[in-house]
């Protein structure tokens, strides 16, 4: 599989790919180099065991960094961990990192946090890099113009041992968003609208490149929200070409290049954006002007509607499996077709996850909560993405706004996004959640999830029903 000649116009995805080819052999996928390997406690233990069994070392501990997030309690970190299996997994992470010489931001570290929040905030995530993690939301780092994707545990072992992966090249899929977002409409609504349009398998074998005036106008945190959910559209990764917004975010962070190295890095990064005349395998264009706040009603992230819309009716669907899947989803969600989702009673609101737990997400939620009370029918959890986000929120007094409104403001972690750590829905409960997946049981066995933005989530917490934030 040979790469394009560099004189031909290339997409940013092709450029990063070409820069990382280690070896190409006939009959085998390309061996590509990985610049940054992020690790967490859930998808690495079996990979470290493979290294032990085979007597291998971690090839580049200096390009590997670990944190704790998935099984991590969001109760104060100085309290004992009650779940013995979760504790054993966290203990194993400590041991693996100590044995193999890997830097770990553990529960005692002020840098601990969700791996996809921690990486960018420490300046680890940089344009043009290849970044992997045993986690499908690794695409988040694509916001910086990096080729970042999730891998399985076997591949975690491959990267630990060789700092490389065997990969087939991906197709570039342009998602162009043009226009101005209306008040109350956010980056989360853009990506939910994209996935509702193309379906959750629409990006299979592709990498999304998000382009257009709307994307250019977004902050880095907003771009991360969009890239984060590329996997929910079936894509391997998603990215945004770097620009001044990117560089301003990175400059001065702990692992960012400094002084002369910074100038050299800028020169390299400026070469990355897609060349004029480069071709995409597919293109989708979205008009930001007409977007509304989006909310999902079903059991996959593609089952989304504008907040003013109606829940689809299986009677209008001809494909038999598609129809039965919608019937199944509505049965699980206990919802009727043909009616608005707006006004549906809820039990829980979760603001958090690698999609929407950064400081701007907390500020957005707090702007709605300030001076208001969480409905007496609702339990609300606000879980910052990292200890750094938590510290910043406290410095700005956001924790007080949440607590005074009656919400629970917790320690950093993945929390109720995937309900591994004890933060979970009870069977039958409904949540409005700023996370990324509404699969059956994702937030707890029998739980029912409506995915939405932090604004929609906060507004719904106040009223106790799925709410259009623009009506508050």
């Amino acid at each position: 599989m040979s790469s394009k000649h560099v004189d031909q116009p290339r997409t940013i995805v092709e450029k990063i790919w070409d820069n990382h080819i280690v070896a190409e052999q006939p009959g085998a996928p390309t061996l590509i180099y990985i610049d940054l390997h992020l690790c967490h406690e859930v998808t690495t233990p079996q990979a470290f065991q493979t290294l032990r069994d085979r007597g291998l070392k971690v090839r580049r501990p200096d390009l590997t960094i670990a944190t704790m997030d998935h099984s991590t309690p969001t109760t104060p970190h100085n309290l004992p961990i009650l779940d013995p299996i979760g504790k054993a997994q966290l203990d194993q992470m400590e041991k693996n990192c100590a044995d193999f010489g890997i830097r770990l931001y553990n529960l005692a570290s002020d840098k601990q946090g969700i791996v996809h929040v921690m990486g960018p905030e420490q300046g680890l995530t940089q344009p043009g890099m290849t970044i992997v993690c045993g986690d499908s939301h690794t695409a988040t780092h694509g916001a910086f113009g990096a080729l970042a994707f999730g891998i399985g545990t076997s591949q975690v072992g491959h990267v630990l041992a060789t700092q490389c992966l065997l990969q087939q090249p991906s197709k570039s899929y342009e998602i162009r968003v043009e226009g101005k977002l209306q008040p109350g409409v956010t980056a989360k609504d853009i990506i939910l609208a994209v996935i509702a349009k193309i379906g959750i398998g629409g990006g299979t074998e592709c990498v999304f490149e998000y382009t257009g005036s709307t994307i250019r106008g977004l902050s880095m945190e907003e771009r991360m929200t969009i890239c984060n959910m590329s996997i929910e559209g079936g894509a391997r990764a998603g990215l945004v070409a770097p620009d001044d917004t990117t560089y301003q975010y990175i400059a001065g962070r702990e692992f960012a290049p400094k002084e002369k190295d910074w100038d050299a890095a800028l020169a390299r990064w400026n070469q990355l954006p897609t060349d004029e005349g480069a071709t995409y395998a597919k293109t989708l264009t979205l008009d930001a002007n007409t977007l509304e706040p989006m909310v999902t009603f079903g059991t996959n992230p593609g089952m989304g509607i504008p907040i003013s819309g109606l829940i689809p009716d299986p009677a209008n669907i001809s494909d038999p499996i598609e129809k039965s899947d919608l019937v199944k989803a509505l049965k699980y969600m206990d919802l009727k077709p043909g009616v608005p989702l707006k006004g549906q009673s809820i039990n829980v609101v979760f603001v958090g996850s690698c999609t929407n737990s950064r400081i701007s997400d907390l500020r957005a939620a707090a702007s709605i909560m300030k001076g208001r009370k969480v409905s007496s029918k609702v339990r609300m959890l606000v879980v910052p993405g990292s200890q750094q986000v938590k510290k910043q929120a406290e410095a700005e007094g956001l924790d007080k706004i949440f607590r005074e409104a009656g919400a629970d403001f917790r320690e950093a972690g993945c929390s109720m996004c995937l309900a591994m750590n004890g933060d979970q829905l009870e069977p039958g409960e409904y949540s409005v959640s700023t996370s990324n997946r509404n699969f059956e049981g994702r937030q707890g066995k029998g739980g029912r999830t409506f995915l939405a933005s932090p604004l929609t989530a906060a507004a719904s917490a106040i009223t106790g029903v799925v709410t259009d934030v623009r009506s508050l």
Partner: protein, 197 residues
């Protein structure tokens, strides 16, 4: 992880977009080993809230007993990167999954564990999805599925993954042999590869 042929009946699970949270729920990912996952495969579908088997779930019906081939709807394995999903499917007893499409990460994870993801043409797939208990023979070397009447259908597979499965080639072993190329790449990239040290 060798794979040559499998002769078995099928079990049909006619649902599109089966995600990895259904295959193996996140609450079972706290393990630090690969073992013990098969018992929790599709658990919240397979078992009723009281812990008894759900008699309506296709895997629990008599026709499914001993089936090593799972036939499912489109886009099987979407969602998370958890390799626990193919581990659980293998431990439950499946050797191949037939669909019209697979999510990328799941497909890669399955192949690395000797679980064959087979993409069938839509018309054949639709037939296979109608009933459980259809006898099939899957032959990896010829990349064919043979139906009971003797009809043979070809399926695509990445040539490298095929060779690894047929020859029992260990991918990590293959990569370790590329050490000179890796060292050369690092030397050439010196100064531009990020270093955390």
């Amino acid at each position: 992880m060798k794979f040559e042929t499998v002769e078995s009946k099928t079990v049909a699970l006619p649902i599109d977009n089966i995600d990895t949270d259904q295959i193996i729920a996140a609450r079972f990912l706290k393990t630090t080993s690969m073992e013990g996952l098969g018992d929790n495969l599709f658990l919240d579908w397979r078992k009723l809230p009281d812990g008894s088997l759900n008699p309506d779930f296709p895997l629990n019906k008599p026709a499914a007993k001993g089936a090593q081939i799972l036939v499912t709807g489109d886009n099987f394995g979407c969602g998370s990167s958890r390799e626990h999903a193919p581990w659980a499917l293998k431990q439950y007893g499946f050797k191949a999954i037939i669909s019209t499409s697979f999510a990328d990460i799941f497909k890669g994870n399955a192949l690395k564990n000797g679980l064959l993801p087979i993409v069938m043409p839509r018309d054949i797939h639709a037939e296979l999805l109608k009933w459980s208990g259809i006898a099939l023979k899957i032959d990896l070397a010829s990349q064919t599925v043979t139906l009971a009447g003797g009809r043979t259908v070809e399926f695509p597979i990445d040539p490298f993954a095929k060779e690894c499965l047929l020859e029992g080639i260990d991918e990590l072993g293959y990569m370790l042999k590329q050490e000179p190329a890796i060292a050369a790449y690092e030397a050439q990239r010196a100064g531009s590869v990020n270093t955390l040290a």
